[in-house]
């Protein structure tokens, strides 16, 4: 925009096209070539990711904007503004680092893996730069599909595929919100540009905001959608590191940050976003405390930390939210990769079994500690500062929100402390027995698995500057959020002390076992009971209704008529005949005549009715023969009747 007037235009646009086109083309090519290119896949994909990083920094400085006609009145618009100039480099760097880790770890069918990851990265870039709803929807769908494919990457295991399916369907339910929002935006007439959504007239604007909230909550695993993130942990660790911490889940938060003006203008939406975020941060924090599986703990913590981002978007603290999003991305990617490194080395991610794992690989342990301490909100590390900045916004709008947020921060210190303490405690002599429960461990962490951790740890430690005065002011200027409230010294120090206190408490005493939170608040069960089961039961009912009622009903009616007819016939025999016999005493000829008329008349009539009903039943069943030509004949007759009716009725109606 402003930069394009400086003459960067073509370079920036080329870089943006490259940023999207290169990974998607390479990704599709890798996916299509299949197992033959497995050996080539890693270098190719690393090269592509490195090119993406370069292109990302170019676009971050040149700020290009692209507008391609797509649908009538809704162009496919991409542009890099202050917010995406931060997010896009962050995503590409994390992608590169994660891919380096994955290449060092070595996956089976790596061509497919790297291909899917690259397509996903391209989709994230489109999401982060989209300026219109069609572009956003397009990328949003691809992200969902790639997430499905990557969680179920080892498709020979049924549970992983079903986990992918759970994630896909749950986020899809949320995605419906985006379609609703697009429909409402069209109906409202303000256009499909993201910036124009806030200008939509009132009732439609509320529908748009509701749809956007739904989509963001779904992708960011906020309540009540959180459970899919738990199932998503069955995917490979690099996938968790990229999709479920830095990129896809973060896009839910990003969407709300981007649309913060829309939320602000519809006040209820801002309040909802803030409170759902705060409550998610609190409850999922508790869930994280209760987990006994390292990746599950990290997943719950991801949902909780994104709760803070939602809270920031809700209270309009865009700078704080953005800083938190970026710092969290680095931190959580680091933690997931470290967990993945131990998983591939020791074959387990159960916390009890991992006891002392940090001592075995001190470098990884130290880096992990940096990440965990940042997560806990320990003073100079990144999440401490960013969290405080967004909580300052919360304090300004509502003290209650602030208190909930502070409690959630304390919980994050608790679960971080729990992981830290277990991993650094002295290993038990029986530690071996807990290993290799999930896969065969290699007992080895490669050099190139450690280097990405170093990079990410640097980010986790240092990105806090984004929320502190010199750099923080620049960030606020970039995002146009100079007026956001700043945290006071008291709050900064207070929260650091609180985090240290909780950490110390956890190290000193054991963490309470929160049984009610261990199963992710039973969200998945609840969904199954409240939504999935009724729907599938209803459809089964409908199918059976068709079989039982429509099909057999006719037969039953026919049988009943037949039976009724027999009974009538019998009672007729008994009573009328008896009467006739009685009458016959008066006159034998009259009696016999009457009896004859009875069998020939009433009886026969009743039986013929029954026969006719039976035949009708048979006829009604006859069309369903399975014979193709008879179906054709029926279609012909029905169409002919329809034509005749049309010809007769249309003039009559006119």
């Amino acid at each position: 925009m402003s930069a394009s007037t400086l003459g960067f235009g073509p370079l920036g646009e080329v870089a943006l096209w490259l940023l999207i086109g290169l990974p998607s083309l390479v990704g599709v090519a890798l996916c299509l070539t299949g197992p033959r290119l497995n050996r080539m896949a890693a270098p190719v994909s690393l090269g592509t990711a490195a090119a993406m990083v370069a292109a990302a920094f170019v676009v971050a400085f040149t700020r290009p904007a692209i507008d391609v006609p797509f649908l009538a009145g809704a162009p496919f618009g991409l542009a890099v503004d202050g917010l995406s100039a931060l997010i896009v480099p962050m995503v590409t760097v994390v992608t590169l680092v994660v891919l380096v880790f994955a290449a060092a770890e070595g996956t089976q069918s790596s061509a497919r893996f790297h291909g899917l990851m690259l397509i996903f990265a391209a989709a994230v870039v489109v999401t982060a730069t989209a300026t219109t709803l069609p572009a956003l929807l397009f990328a949003w769908e691809i992200m969902g599909a790639m997430s499905y494919a990557l969680i179920g990457f080892r498709w020979r295991d049924d549970n992983r595929v079903s986990a992918g399916l759970t994630a896909f369907i749950t986020t899809r339910v949320g995605d419906l919100g985006l379609y609703i929002a697009a429909g409402a935006a069209l109906a409202g007439g303000a256009g499909l540009g993201l910036a124009q959504l806030a200008e939509a007239p009132s009732p439609w604007r509320d529908v748009i905001a509701a749809g956007i909230l739904m989509a963001a909550f779904g992708k960011a695993a906020q309540l009540p959608f959180s459970f899919w993130l738990s199932r998503a942990m069955e995917g490979p660790s690099p996938v968790s590191a990229l999709l479920h911490s830095a990129a896809m889940v973060a896009m839910g938060g990003y969407l709300l940050l981007r649309l913060a003006p829309l939320l602000a203008i519809t006040e209820w939406a801002a309040t909802t976003a803030a409170w759902v975020g705060a409550v998610t941060a609190l409850l999922l924090g508790a869930v994280a405390v209760a987990q006994r599986d390292l990746k599950q703990l990290l997943a719950a913590s991801t949902a909780a930390q994104l709760g803070f981002v939602m809270l920031a978007a809700g209270v309009g603290s865009v700078a704080g939210g953005t800083a938190h999003l970026m710092a969290h991305a680095a931190t959580k990617a680091l933690l997931f990769l470290a967990a993945g490194a131990w998983l591939s080395a020791l074959g387990t991610k159960q916390l009890p079994a991992l006891r002392g794992a940090a001592r075995r690989w001190p470098l990884v342990g130290v880096l992990f500690a940096v990440g965990v301490l940042s997560l806990a909100g320990i003073a100079p590390l990144s999440l401490w500062a960013t969290k405080e900045e967004l909580l300052a916004g919360a304090l300004e709008s509502s003290p209650a929100l602030y208190i909930v947020g502070l409690a959630a921060a304390a919980l994050s210190a608790a679960y971080a402390g729990k992981a830290l303490v277990i991993l650094w405690r002295k290993p038990l002599t029986t530690a071996q027995s807990g290993y290799d429960t999930e896969q065969r461990g290699t007992r080895h962490i490669a050099v190139w698995q450690r280097i990405p951790l170093v990079v990410l740890a640097a980010g986790a430690a240092l990105l806090g500057v984004l929320a502190l005065p010199p750099v923080g002011d620049w960030l606020r200027g970039l995002l146009g959020a100079e007026g956001d409230p700043r945290p006071g010294v008291l709050e900064l120090v207070g929260s650091a002390v609180l985090a240290l206190f909780v950490l110390g408490l956890v190290a000193w005493k054991r963490v309470p076992r929160l049984a009610w939170a261990a199963n992710w608040l039973g969200l998945e069960r609840a969904t199954r009971i409240v939504v999935v089961d009724p729907v599938s039961r209803l459809s089964q009912r409908l199918a059976r209704f068709d079989d039982v009622v429509l099909d057999r009903g006719i037969q039953i009616v026919a049988r009943m008529v037949l039976r009724g007819a027999r009974r009538v016939g019998r009672s007729d025999d008994e009573t009328l005949d008896a009467a006739v016999t009685a009458v016959a005493r008066g006159g034998a000829r009259a009696a016999s005549a009457l009896a004859r008329s009875d069998t020939g008349g009433v009886d026969a009539a009743v039986e013929s009715i029954a026969r006719a009903a039976r035949r009708l039943g048979m006829i009604a069943r006859r069309p369903q023969t399975g014979q193709l030509h008879e179906y054709y004949a029926q279609i012909t007759v029905v169409l002919a009747v329809a034509i005749v009716l049309l010809l007769v009725l249309v003039p009559v109606v006119r």
Binding site: T625, G626, H629, Y631, Y632, A633, T636
Partner: protein, 100 residues
């Protein structure tokens, strides 16, 4: 040449095809009947296009009909091959799965 004449010819083709589709037992012969019906449709579409609204877009409909024929043909052959392989028969009378 009038619209009525062409339409009557088209109706004739259509109904000859209809007779075939209804009366033939062999899958491929049924498909020939369907093809003949679509043949009539092509002629009728052309007639409507030429005599009622001869604009550019009408021709696209003809292409769509031809594409539909292709799809019908391809899937018909595939299903006939499948039937022949699994049942050793190509009669429609033996394929009554739809009655279940």
């Amino acid at each position: 040449m009038t619209l009525q004449l062409v339409l009557v010819v088209a109706a004739g083709l259509f109904c000859v095809g209809l007779y075939g589709a209804l009366s033939q037992q062999v899958v491929v012969m049924v498909m020939m009947g369907l093809e003949l019906m679509l043949n009539g449709v092509i002629l009728a579409v052309t007639a409507f296009w030429w005599f009622l609204a001869p604009n550019a877009d009408g021709q696209v409909l003809l292409l769509v009909v031809i594409a539909a024929m292709t799809v019908e043909m391809t899937m018909g052959f595939a299903i006939a091959t499948l039937l022949h392989r699994s049942r050793g028969s190509d009669m429609t009378d033996t394929a009554t799965d739809l009655s279940q």
